[in-house]
């Protein structure tokens, strides 16, 4: 992971995951958080849903190898665990497109270089229908042009300006940026009453 890798285009097939409010406990159940590294998480993504929901897209061989995840409303709600986008990424997902995302999930995803774009409900429905009908349909997402194309159809995407900017400039990994004006950080700290002891 380097701090200056711009992210623009993500290509590949898609996996449609229907349903609102899919929370991070479902994306990666808590018992798989007992690791001090993120590396093995890909194998456990949606572990419980895959078992309890017959035909779950992440258990369906048709969608194996997909790199774009299609979701509905409020995806990634609940626990702040970064393990959720990490697990999706390690499973192979390179971008998410949905009606809406929870705030912490969006921040966590951006920070690890996983673009999450929103689109109109009707467009999401159309993309899901395309991939359900023909799972091998290639899709191409561009952060720069804010579009995703699939089966000859182009759909408009939305990103918060800061998210798009950080992906395109490669500043999504913020550590270097935050350290670049460290004197300013010290100056702010030194004028806070609780830092100086009132």
């Amino acid at each position: 992971m380097s701090g200056v890798t711009p992210i623009d285009r993500i290509k590949g097939t898609a996996v449609p995951l229907r349903g609102d409010n899919i929370d991070t406990d479902r994306i990666i159940p808590a018992r798989f958080l007992k690791e001090i590294s993120f590396s093995g998480l890909g194998a456990h993504v949606f572990a419980d849903d895959r078992r309890s929901m017959p035909g779950h897209p992440f258990a369906n061989a048709d969608f194996a190898g997909a790199s774009i995840l299609l979701v509905n409303e409020n995806f990634g709600s609940g626990s702040s665990r970064e393990h959720a986008p990490q697990a999706l990424m390690r499973w192979g997902i390179g971008a998410c497109v949905g009606q809406s995302f929870s705030e912490i999930f969006l921040a966590n995803s951006t920070t690890i270089g996983l673009p999450c774009a929103t689109a109109a409900a009707a467009d999401i429905e159309a993309l899901m229908a395309i991939t359900e009908h023909a799972p091998t349909t290639p899709m191409a997402l561009s952060v720069r042009t804010r579009t995703i194309t699939a089966g000859g159809r182009t759909v408009a995407l939305h990103f918060p300006a800061a998210v798009r900017d950080s992906l395109l400039t490669g500043q999504w990994d913020a550590t270097g940026l935050l350290l670049s004006e460290f004197e300013d950080v010290q100056r702010i700290a030194s004028r806070l009453p609780y830092v100086t002891g009132f």
Binding site: D20, K34, S80, E82, Q86, S100, T169, T175, V185, G197
Partner: protein, 465 residues
């Protein structure tokens, strides 16, 4: 120009505006625990970056620790590994930590306030979504992911976009047997689990002003369940009285000066809000969740909703009813419970245990119920024991445990089995949250949990007080 507390704290902690439009925000207090920090420390090491302000980070252990046998090494090798990683990281980077050997150990959102680390006017971050709890003190406190934990360790800063503020005013007086938990469940049911996205929730009104700090923490804790990353209450005399004499709170003359400053950080009377919501506190009943997200709750006397009762949410209701095995239109009261859990960062504080004990005193847990009380911190546990609450619970047939997250989530030995139904004072009723993929969680206040434990079924606690 009049400003809200959020704006005042934000302005004071702004290092600069980033080219992206986000703010580089200085973080006054960084709390860490064993689950979301080890990867962050590894990222630092790989980059050869140190911790910028080690004295502004404080660590504890809560999620994975057993609440029965806490001898080391833990029986669970992975838990032991996480525990050891936290100890090693804090040691290497010079970070204070309240480990299992310390009487200051406990759930991160319980110990921050209890030790006086959490103070008004601060920015507070922690790799845990319930960091919103600390907003009860008039701090701007929010959960972050592991890469952001890395950023705070490296720079004491975060890159974050500003939020709007919704003022939620709770008027009137809560009835007997109605608690902060019921108020926040009502708010989430009313505004939805996504209603708070993009907002900080500022809680006010007579009912909130009358609340103790413990109750305010319960409200702010669950802001995130309504989609709001931040919830806060303006600091007042109740806040200051709570903080006075706490180990990390300012003392003597500094406390007097601190109070002046804290007071000045409260929202101005004529501050403008992006949205305002009014709730009649007197009309709130004890509430219970019937579904699979914290927005799916009803007053204990109401029937379980049906698909047709919601304009947009019909599908979600259907999925929840299927999972829970409940029937639309039937009452929730009378539902048999298998497990009762009093604890968590939402409701594992001393006053919560007192309310549960009030109900449990002199009664016995129903024979088919497994009931446990898990204090939120070692200090809570000791204080409860000093006033004999442990005896009350043990005599009634509850288990009395060591401090930790316990059955709030499934990262330690405490968990549901199969399709068990759990009356729980925690904050999340997501599928699988309490450790069994098919386990069922009913969120409610600690007093309601105690009532369910005693009667063996969901019961209106007002009939038992």
């Amino acid at each position: 120009m009049p400003r809200t507390l959020l704006q005042k704290v934000w302005d004071l902690h702004t290092v600069r505006r980033l080219p992206s439009g986000q703010t580089q925000l200085f973080i006054g207090l960084h709390l860490i625990h064993e689950v979301t920090s080890p990867q962050a420390f590894d990222m630092l090491r790989r980059r050869g970056v140190g911790v910028a302000f080690p004295e502004r980070t404080y660590g504890t252990v809560d999620h994975i620790i057993p609440t029965l046998d806490q001898s080391r090494p833990f029986a669970d090798g992975l838990a032991e590994q996480m525990m050891a990683a936290l100890e090693r990281n804090c040691d290497e980077f010079g970070i204070r930590v309240a480990g299992l050997d310390s009487d200051r150990q406990g759930i991160v959102h319980v110990i921050g306030p209890e030790l006086g680390l959490t103070q008004p006017g601060m920015t507070i971050a922690c790799g845990d979504s319930h960091t919103s709890t600390h907003g009860a003190f008039g701090a701007v406190a929010f959960g972050i992911g592991t890469s952001q934990v890395r950023d705070v360790l490296a720079s004491q800063c975060l890159a974050i976009a500003p939020l709007k503020v919704r003022h939620i005013s709770v008027s009137g007086e809560l009835g007997p047997g109605v608690y902060a938990k019921d108020v926040i469940l009502e708010i989430i049911a009313r505004l939805g689990v996504r209603g708070g996205v993009g907002y900080a929730y500022e809680y006010g009104g007579e009912a909130v002003e009358r609340m103790t700090m413990d109750e305010r923490m319960t409200m702010c804790n669950m802001s995130i369940e309504g989609g709001a990353r931040i919830g806060y209450v303006n600091p007042d005399e109740t806040t200051f009285a709570y903080l006075e004499g706490r180990p990390h709170a300012p003392g003597g003359d500094a406390f007097v000066r601190a109070k002046e400053w804290w007071r000045s950080m409260a929202s101005d009377a004529d501050a403008a809000y992006d949205d305002v919501v009014e709730i009649d506190g007197g009309a709130i009943e004890p509430r219970v969740t019937w579904g699979i997200n914290p927005g799916q709750s009803i007053g204990v006397s109401q029937p379980i909703p049906d698909k047709a009762s919601a304009a947009t949410d019909g599908e979600a209701i259907g999925e929840a009813l299927d999972f829970m095995g409940f029937t639309a239109g039937s009452p929730l009261a009378g539902t048999r419970v298998d497990v009762a859990f009093v604890g968590s960062c939402t409701n594992g504080r001393l006053s919560d245990l007192r309310e549960a004990a009030r109900v449990a005193r002199g009664s016995s847990v129903a024979s088919h119920v497994r009931a446990l009380v898990v204090p939120g911190s070692t200090q809570v546990r000791q204080a409860a024991e000093a006033e004999g609450l442990d005896e009350v619970f043990l005599q009634a047939g509850f288990e009395w445990r060591g401090a930790g997250c316990s059955m709030c989530l499934a990262m330690n030995p405490d968990r549901l089995n199969g399709r068990e139904v759990c009356a729980s004072s925690s904050n999340r009723n997501f599928k699988g949250r309490q450790g069994s993929p098919t386990g069922r969680t009913l969120l409610m206040s600690p007093a309601m949990v105690a009532a369910a434990a005693i009667s063996g079924e969901v019961t209106d606690v007002r009939t038992m007080l």
